[in-house]
Amino acid sequence: MGSQGVVNFIIWRLFATLLLLFIVSLLVFWACEILPGDVAQVALGQYATPENVQALRLEMGLNEPAAQRYLHWLAGAVQGDWGRSMVTKSPVSALLSERVANTALLAGITTVIAVPLAILLGVAMAMWNGRALDRGASVVILALSATPEFLLATLLVLLFAVNLGWLPAVAYLSTGSGIGQTARALLLPTASLVVVVTAQIARMTRAILGNILTQPYIEMAILKGVPDRRIVARHALRNAVGPIANVVALNTAYLVSGIVVVETIFAYPGLARLMIDSVQSRDLPVVQACAMIFCATYVLLILLADVMARVFDPRSLPQRPMDTI
């Protein structure tokens, strides 16, 4: 069943991904070039005297032509060397390691909780379409997905951390803090993210299933005496895998790159915050690394979703590989 096709498809897409990353890296580089205030200046900040700046520029090799610097970076990146942070002087990889771990942890936990929850919810809503559960759930979900993240998070903190004192207000992880401690620390940020993500995915799932339930083969199933639940669970869901996987992928990507607000409120040292700080300090190598990670995550997640869709689709039609990145 076209497993060969799937493999080729993946290979093609990975190639496309590399291309995309290359273009993005160019873009990011260019953007950092045109930003006001150059790295050396920002690094020296308030005290920059012209000669200091010159000295630092020299040290950072900023006086080389842009193209040369980019190629230099590229050469390194290709060999897996992300260069050194211009601000901390430490290797980017070292700077990233903990952040990546943190982000992965938070995104991971949230996904593991939110995705099944959301899909179950969406399916349930589709099954009891139009009944009390459906209506009630959709309004709640809507309200939640419509509240600004930062308010949601702050309210959670006020309630559970400040007033009840059950949970820590910040997701500060000191090195070597145990599982329990970590879990407690992550509970609130995870909770607020779960709420946001669940709301999104559940809504989409419900919508997707809703469309599928109008298909003729669903009517046929009804006329075969298949109970509603089974119809949704067996007949509809199979056909919904593709689109749902896509929605999940998008939301997961968001969890990796888009959760600045939550990271800020819970003082959680994640990638998104790092990228913002680095953009602000014009720390190009770090910005590049983050951008690469974010784009790669996004593209690969989407790829994963498409593969899922194909695996569940008996006819893995050979389609133009770039088409659905």
């Binding site: 075969k224 005496g225 056909n239 008996p314």
Partner: protein
């Protein structure tokens, strides 16, 4: 248990907005009998069929009457009860198997699903039963074919799976909704035969919905003629066919006879056609995928020739996959041929309309099968026709208005239709507009691609008549593409038979259709349903003999 399996009493169904769909229907189906529901689309026959299973489509509700299936009141029965009845007491066979099978589930699983749900058979029994049925319905290697997915089998085979699914639990009643109308004629014969056989062998009763009297005549013991949500006439097949009481029934029969090979006889003498070809197609090869040295990777036409003389109607016949539609699109310039040439009165036409001159584009017009997709549902007819006038002839305002009224008259539609949307007119009327739009360009050559195949018999007949009239009045040259010999017989001067992208036979339609040489043509001819009982058996027999011949004559590629 009474012999009455289905009893419908004064059934009334209306849309949620209150428009009546079924208006006081009463009928009964007894063991082993096949009741056919026949009527034009919109007559409510499908709604009735579904109601027999206690199912109303969204937007419909029962406003009165009762439907008793095997003693159970289906309209009020709770969902669990319905679920227990469906598939077991009464099964459903949908019109389009292609759409009715879940694309993501194996056919075998879908066939046995209800049996397993009902626990009426153990998994093993169910599989065995299914395999028997597959064999019985002469599906290739029945023991393994169940593991296939819908997209892996042909349309005809899908329909057989559908029937197998209907028979799986040996129900008392099979509800068949146009089970063959989506099939090619030759396939239709086989499927019909199997279905009929199955019904007899299982001593099942059947509610058989169809718009084609000829088809119905072969299988039904009784026929109910429906029109506008009511039963016009109900009686034994014999009586309905030979001694119809109601005018509407007579009309149906007339249309049916008109569209049959019999029509060859009373076809009017052809007009004197000028000897020179207006349009000629020479060795056209076309298909999809990359073209390498004049051959596409997937070819649907392998070197097709076609000669059309002025003011004659040339029919191109073939079943699905014969490439007839591709040919139409090549001529119209919608599909660039890999090699070969299309010339119109001397001048060679570019492959794609983009490269053709405005004049050339105007002189060839195409009317396509699906009127729904042919007319932009968001445009009023005025806009649809007006655009063409403005585009080709720069006619606007009053002049355009006048011209449009002419066109409407030409296709015999009332003037006030100009303000309607395609969604507000019937299928036949859409097809008329479809033609009118083509005429608006004042073409010399009109290509009609399956323009009747989506229509009910009576309406189809009217459209055919219209086309003929247009040819006579406007002296159009017409390329008439169809899968249905009956239709063709009643209109074409000459016929070209396509199979797997090759011309298997061509000539004067009288000769080709009355004395076909090529076995495939013979098969086609034999497959045209005739309005007489027993035809089905003859056709099936004929088909069997021809089958072997065909295998040998089969072109290697396809």
């Amino acid at each position: 248990m009474s012999t009455n399996i289905l009893t419908v009493d004064d059934l009334r169904i209306a849309t949620t907005t209150g428009m009546p769909v079924l208006d006081g229907i009463s009928l009964r189906v007894c063991r082993g009998e096949v009741l056919a529901l026949i009527g034009a689309s919109g007559s409510g026959k499908t709604t009735l069929a579904l109601a027999a299973l206690g199912h109303l489509r969204p937007g419909l509700r029962a406003t009165g009457g009762s439907v008793r299936l095997d003693g159970v009141e289906m309209l009020t029965a709770p969902q669990p009860v319905l679920n227990r009845m469906r598939g077991r007491v009464a099964s459903y066979i949908a019109q389009s198997a292609a759409a009715a099978f879940n694309p993501r589930m194996r056919l075998g699983d879908q066939v046995v699903e209800s049996a397993l749900l009902h626990r009426s058979q153990s998994a093993v029994q169910a599989r065995a039963r299914a395999q028997d049925l597959f064999g019985y319905l002469s599906l290739p290697n029945p023991d393994r074919i169940g593991t296939r997915f819908p997209y892996q089998v042909s349309g005809g085979q899908l329909q057989r799976f559908m029937i197998a699914m209907g028979l799986q639990e040996e129900p008392l009643l099979m509800v068949c909704d146009e089970p063959t109308s989506a099939l090619d004629v030759t396939t239709q014969v086989e499927v019909m035969r199997l279905l009929k056989q199955a019904i007899l062998d299982n001593d099942t009763a059947a509610l058989f919905v169809s718009h084609d009297l000829a088809v119905v005549a072969q299988i039904a013991t009784r026929i109910a003629v429906m029109c506008a949500g009511a039963i016009v006439e109900i009686g034994d097949t014999e009586q309905i066919i030979n001694a119809p009481r109601e005018d509407y029934t007579r009309e149906l029969i007339a249309a049916c006879q008109h569209l049959s090979l019999g029509a060859l006889a009373q076809r009017p003498a052809r007009l004197p056609a000028s000897a020179d070809a207006t349009l000629s197609v020479k060795g056209v090869v076309a298909g999809y995928g990359k073209v390498s040295n004049g051959k596409p990777s997937i070819a649907t036409l392998h070197g097709v020739d076609l000669e059309v003389r002025k003011r004659e109607i040339v029919a191109v016949i073939g079943e699905s996959g014969s490439g007839k539609t591709t040919l139409a699109r090549v001529i119209a310039g919608l599909h660039a041929p890999a090699s070969g040439a299309v010339t119109m009165s001397g001048e060679t036409l570019a492959g794609l309309d983009a490269q053709r001159t405005a004049a050339q584009r105007r002189r060839i017009q195409l009317a396509v099968q699906m009127a729904d997709t042919a007319l932009n549902p968001k445009h009023r007819l005025r806009r649809i026709l007006g655009r063409v006038l403005a585009f080709f002839h720069g006619i606007k305002g009053a002049a355009a208005e006048a011209r449009m009224l002419e066109l409407l008259a030409m296709v015999s539609l009332p003037p006030h239709y100009l303000d309607r949307y395609p969604t507000e007119i019937s299928g036949g009327e859409k097809q008329r507009i479809n033609l009118a739009r083509a005429l608006a360009a004042e073409p010399e050559i009109l290509i009609c691609d399956e323009i009747t195949s989506a229509l009910d018999t009576i309406v189809a007949g009217q459209i055919i008549a219209l086309v003929k009239r247009l040819r006579d009045e406007l002296g159009l040259t017409i390329i008439f593409i169809s899968h249905d010999l009956a239709t063709v017989a009643s209109i074409a001067d000459r016929v070209t038979v396509l199979r797997h992208g090759r011309v298997v036979e061509a000539g004067e339609s009288a000769e080709v259709l009355s004395a076909p040489k090529d076995p495939y043509t013979r098969l086609l001819v034999a497959s045209v349903p005739e309005l007489r009982q027993g035809w089905l058996e003859d056709a099936a027999a004929m088909r069997a003999t021809l089958a072997t011949e065909l295998e040998t004559s089969r072109p290697g590629a396809a």
